[in-house]
Amino acid sequence: MSASSFQALDYLEQLPVQTHRKLYEQPSTVLAIFRCMLPHLAKSIVMALLYMPAPFPAADLDAWFRTDSTQTKRGAMFILEKLHITVQKQDDARTLSYELYPSFASSLRQALEGSGSHRSFGVPSHKSEDKRVSVEFLDSYSQRQWENILFYLVGGTVGFRNAGGQDIGTGTKNLLQMAGFFHHGMITREGFTFVLRDTNAQVWSLLVAYLRNAPQLSMSETDILNFLFMLGSLELGQDYSTATLSATQLQMLEDLAEFGIIYRSHKAASTFYPTRLAVTLTSDAGALSQGAGSATGGGSTQKGFIIIETNYRLYAYTNSLLQIAILSLFTHMRTRFPNLVTGKITRRSIGRAISYGITSAQIIEYLDTHAHPQMQKTKPFLPPTVMDQIRLWEYERERMETTQGYLMREFPSEMMYKEYVQYAKDNGVLVWQNDKLRMFFVDSFEVVMAKVKRDKERTQARTMR
């Protein structure tokens, strides 16, 4: 299970039980969840329960595990229960037992056996071989589309003149804004996290944002999920008919085409092609990192192109504008050749990146994952002094700690000041005090106000009397 599918899992876990039940009616969805969302142990448990005629007593399940592994088992069971895949049962004798949720079990059986309706795994069109577009074309198409999105986020920030070659659609722009990646024409901290991730994780985080946004566009979440999971089981280079798709799914086609996840020859085409981004949705293999790079001729997303030296000079074997844009977020660029860019990491360049909201850890991770094969000969890949320095440059800026709150001052008497300071201290809201100036600072106004109110009432009561 790759890191990228964690986001999808997180999202799935939050869904209500009804959505789960609806989802489990689709064999392709069930297979995808089984294949890439579940940890290995949970898979084994599901397989064991799949063909069991009767609920499986919990005690028997416990017997399968060594006592020192109950923690692992509990984790696996927790996920299964959260996704409502297993159901706990209690019979009359009060013995606890498990069984799979019936529609999940039947869908999975269908998927494995290939029985039942085939529509769930897409309906291939019957075009002849030569009319189809090539895999290379799909790869370059998806890469171009996807990089356009990333470039839209990054380009403007680093001051590229005409940010990005082609513009991206308004729908995508809105989505990026909704996802919190982009705000008032500036990339946000989340946006950087997004850009610096590997492609598969990027795709999922955008899709999760898309799902969250779905109800507002009156699209069915279940349909979207079903479609996405179906995409993961399709074959690259094959085109599929749109005839079986629901209204929501037809609406999705347009958006996904813009992301580069699917390809359609024109807007009204009766078929669509899944691209590499789509078919790797539910697998661990990196989406654009393999195959795609070589297909586009030593292209941008190939792994390992950055060399960084102990004198903070950076050399990147790339000609991709996107990568240059990303590097220039935290590097002072110097020279560009057809296949290499050089620059230097400086205190100022790192400082600028940090002011954008990028963390030193993100920079280091980016450099580490893209370290040139020559760098990978040493362990760690990056020079330790450089890593330390990048971190220190970040800490340097983080010496100020801010607290939102209220300054209390102008106390009429020393006694009253002391009383209030003590009160604030006792309630744990005091942040700072200065006895000389008779003022102090609290992070919660309400607590102090409550006392003010109480005191006022008391004095009022006293005067009344």
Binding site: G159, F160, N311, Y312, P338, Q374, T385
Partner: protein
């Protein structure tokens, strides 16, 4: 600038020191103009934008076409002359050997190396025999992309201009020599040059070119067994039959290069300077070479390397560049400290075998040079003399070696009788070789003065760090010669010729009371601010901690502080001996001998007088507590103190270099700047924010607030003059920068007692320095030192008796 000029006028110059300050300005202008003329900047075409990203780059060459087999070629060439080289390419070794000849190394870290093509580096390349076409072809061979036309034309232009004509001293007569007669004729057309001719008929002399590779560098394997092969005498035709020669010349023009010929014309020696300047002006700078084999006027010196002296491969490489063509070429050789610069100098002297003058930057190093000469060569001890403020000797015979300091030669004003006599001796001779040690520190004005007063055929500059913060290093190209060789630090340290060093920058938190005072002190560079940062109690503790730690490991430690007040404070508190500008010569020797031989003395404190040419192979750890602003050179020189560590070839041995920096002060920014040179040589500075175990120590000083407050009071009471950096008289350092900066009067606040000398009247020593202890206790002083001292005094007595 070829500085042999004005040998005849040198005496006059010495009489009137002021003349030079006037003449200097115009020279500086000339330098500047020439540097601009031959820099690449002017050549650049306006940048053309290719896409949105172009604006990010200073140099965008994305449009330069890539060769189809670019993956197997190792380098990129930037329009501005910068070269980036992949060190992991199979072609790397040969490309590196080539680049070091034609370009200046900028950074040689590990995977990517950077060089830059400059007019001077191309000058050096041409002068050791590369042709412009060869340079371009080989660059094209290694380059991944097609070579930029700007670079090609730059190379052509620079190398066409440089090194085509040489100025040669033959039989103490000056000739302009070239293998291109057309060029010489062009020079002869020039009004200034034509007036300087020795022979008004303006004819060219032609002779066979000397063959390459006849020079044996002493100490190499080739030379070790065999006797020095007799140098073939060059057919030194005198211009007695001009017509015949011109006829031969014409023939030569037709039948292209059947035999290599050189052509020359003679100029009057006294016009050398004018000619050299004029050649610059018209764009044909002259190379200087010394045909020492044919010099029958100056007496030979009987000097050879001892059989046990084997020079290393990089020393040989450097020397072979100096001596190719069987002549000695002026220039600068750059080797890291501890890599055997002295031996290179001595070998050069053995090669030339003429009288040799060695200029050092301090008396201490002058003494070291003499010792090294006696160590490595078979020179008769009587033939080598030392001229310093303490010893004023000259050699008795017609040839010999004289070791002296820049300061001795440069100081103006009335000199002591014996000094004046010695100077006269120097000025009246013709020297075969001038060795300028630590050539980087010499300000141009002073160096000129020195070189004018010494008539030398050939100059060899030695340094580890060809760096100056004031950008005056370029003038050395003209004053001494081009850089002939620069060694790769990382390579030498991997091969064990210099020690491996772990570098660290230790960040010390400022003590709050000190920081408050620091913030309240106005003036960004005020001495008080610096003093507060240096005497930061936490820094003191870190220093103490590190000294202890390394003492326990068995290391010997040097602590450097530029600030003498802090130096004294530290050394007294920690009970370690110290040396600074005010320490007497005798005391210095004593402390150094003790550091070398006495196990009880494991740490010494040095001010900046210890930065250069101090040979302490015992030291394996270095701590720097204060430094001269952002001087990259000082940082490298200080690192050099531990590069020659004796134990460097032990398995897993590491020397340690610590730079202690007070956090949030100016020291932080300076530290980064200081390290930039070393970092480009491949040294990595680890930043230590916390010393492991320092909190648990209870024996550190200034642990309590009262102690710290007391220290703060002392610092606050320190006089401005105490806090300021030391100015050392007698060393070349302070001479330069401080003098001419401000013309106006200088006002200092002081008490009347200070002015009248009353402040020093009562002499009570509460805090005794360790130095005093060393000189008093007879027990510490070991036999060796006593013997050394007594033999020294005996020798003096004997000499006195002899005279």
């Amino acid at each position: 600038m070829p500085p042999k000029k004005r040998k005849a006028e040198a005496a006059e110059a010495e009489v009137d020191g002021q003349e030079w300050s006037g003449g200097e300005l115009s020279d500086a202008d000339t330098f500047k103009r020439l540097e601009n003329k031959f820099s690449l900047v002017g050549h650049q075409k306006p940048r053309h934008q290719t896409d949105g990203a172009s604006g990010l780059f200073q140099n965008d060459q994305a449009s330069q076409p890539l060769k189809p087999d670019h993956a197997s070629r190792p380098m990129w060439v930037v329009e501005d002359g910068k070269i980036i080289l992949e060190s992991f390419s199979p072609l790397f070794p040969e490309a590196q050997d080539f680049l070091i000849n034609i370009a200046e190394p900028i950074s040689r870290v590990s995977r990517m190396h950077e060089y830059t093509l400059t007019a001077h580096s191309l000058f050096a390349a041409v002068s050791v025999g590369h042709t412009p076409d060869e340079i371009i072809n080989r660059l094209e061979k290694y380059s991944k992309a097609v070579l930029n036309s700007t670079v090609v034309s730059f190379i052509k232009k620079s190398s066409a201009a440089y090194g085509k004509a040489k100025i040669v001293l033959k039989k103490t007569l000056s000739y302009i020599e070239s293998d291109d007669p057309a060029l010489l004729r062009q020079l002869l057309q020039d009004p200034v040059i034509s007036q300087s001719l020795a022979d008004s008929s303006a004819t060219l002399i032609t002779e066979a070119a000397p063959k390459f590779g006849q020079m044996m560098i002493p100490g190499t394997k080739m030379a070790a067994g065999a006797n020095q092969i007799a140098q073939p005498e060059l057919a030194a035709e005198e211009p007695e039959e001009p017509n015949k020669i011109i006829a031969a010349l014409r023939e030569d023009d037709e039948e292209e290069e059947e035999e290599a010929k050189v052509h020359s014309f003679q100029i009057r020696s006294e016009t050398r300077e004018a000619v050299i300047k004029q050649c610059w002006e018209i764009g044909y700078p002259l190379t200087q070479e010394y045909d020492f084999n044919n010099d029958q006027v100056n007496a030979n010196l009987n000097i050879d390397l001892k059989p046990h002296a084997q020079i290393r491969y990089y020393q040989e490489k450097a020397l072979s560049k100096m001596f190719s063509n069987s002549r000695a070429r002026s220039g600068v050789i750059v080797l890291p400290c501890g890599a055997g610069k002295t031996l290179v100098g001595i070998t050069a002297a053995c090669g030339v075998k003429k009288s040799c003058i060695v200029l050092c930057n301090s008396t201490m190093s002058a003494i070291q040079w003499r010792t090294e000469f006696l160590n490595w060569s078979n020179i008769n001890p009587d033939d080598i003399a030392v001229l310093t403020s303490m010893e004023k000797n000259v050699f008795p015979k017609s040839a010999g070696v004289l070791v002296t300091t820049y300061h001795m030669l440069a100081a103006s004003g009335k000199r002591a009788h014996d000094t004046a006599a010695a100077l006269k001796f120097i000025q009246e001779r013709e020297w075969g070789l001038l060795i300028a040690d630590e050539v980087h520190i010499i300000p141009a004005a002073m160096f000129k003065k020195v070189t004018y007063s010494v008539a030398s055929h050939c100059k060899l500059g030695l340094t580890a760090t060809l760096l100056r913060e004031d950008d005056k290093i370029g003038t050395l190209n003209f004053l001494v010669g081009p850089k002939l060789y620069e060694a790769n630090w990382q390579e030498l340290s991997q091969q064990g010729h210099i020690a491996k060093v772990q570098c660290a920058e230790v960040w010390c938190r400022m003590a709050p009371e000190f920081y408050r005072e620091w913030l309240n002190t106005t003036g960004s560079n005020s001495p008080k601010k610096q003093l507060l940062a240096v005497l930061n109690p936490y820094k003191f503790q870190a220093c103490q901690f590190l000294i202890d730690y390394h003492h326990k490991r068995g290391d010997k430690t040097i602590v450097f502080s530029d600030n003498v007040y802090a130096l004294t404070k530290y050394s007294i508190k920690l009970g370690c001996p110290q040396i600074h500008g005010g320490t007497s010569q005798h005391e210095r020797q004593l402390v150094l001998e003790n550091f070398r031989n006495n196990p009880a003395i494991h740490t010494i404190f040095l001010s900046k007088i210890g930065d250069t040419s101090l040979d302490l192979p015992e030291a394996t750890c270095l701590i720097q507590i204060s430094s001269h602003y952002g001087s990259r050179r000082q940082e490298a020189q200080r690192l050099g103190r531990i590069l020659r560590a004796k134990r460097r070839n032990d398995e897993g041995f590491n020397a340690f270099f610590y730079s202690l920096v007070s956090k949030d002060t100016d020291e932080m920014t300076y530290a980064a700047r200081r390290q930039s040179f070393l970092v480009d040589q491949g040294y990595a500075f680890k930043i230590i924010t916390r010393l492991e175990g320092i909190e648990d120590r209870t024996d550190l000083f200034f642990r309590t607030l009262t102690d710290r407050k007391e220290l703060l009071t002392e610092v606050c009471l320190a006089k401005e003059s105490d806090a300021a950096e030391e100015h050392i008289a007698g060393d070349t350092f302070s001479m330069n920068l401080n003098k001419r900066k401000k013309g106006g009067a200088r006002r200092t606040a002081g008490t009347l007692a200070d002015l009248s000398g009353g402040a020093g009247m009562s002499y009570i020593e509460y805090n005794k320095t360790k130095n005093k202890e060393l000189s008093k206790s007879k027990g510490v002083k070991n036999n060796f030192i006593r013997k050394l001292n007594s033999s020294h005094t005996n020798a003096k007595k004997r000499k006195a008796a002899g005279q």
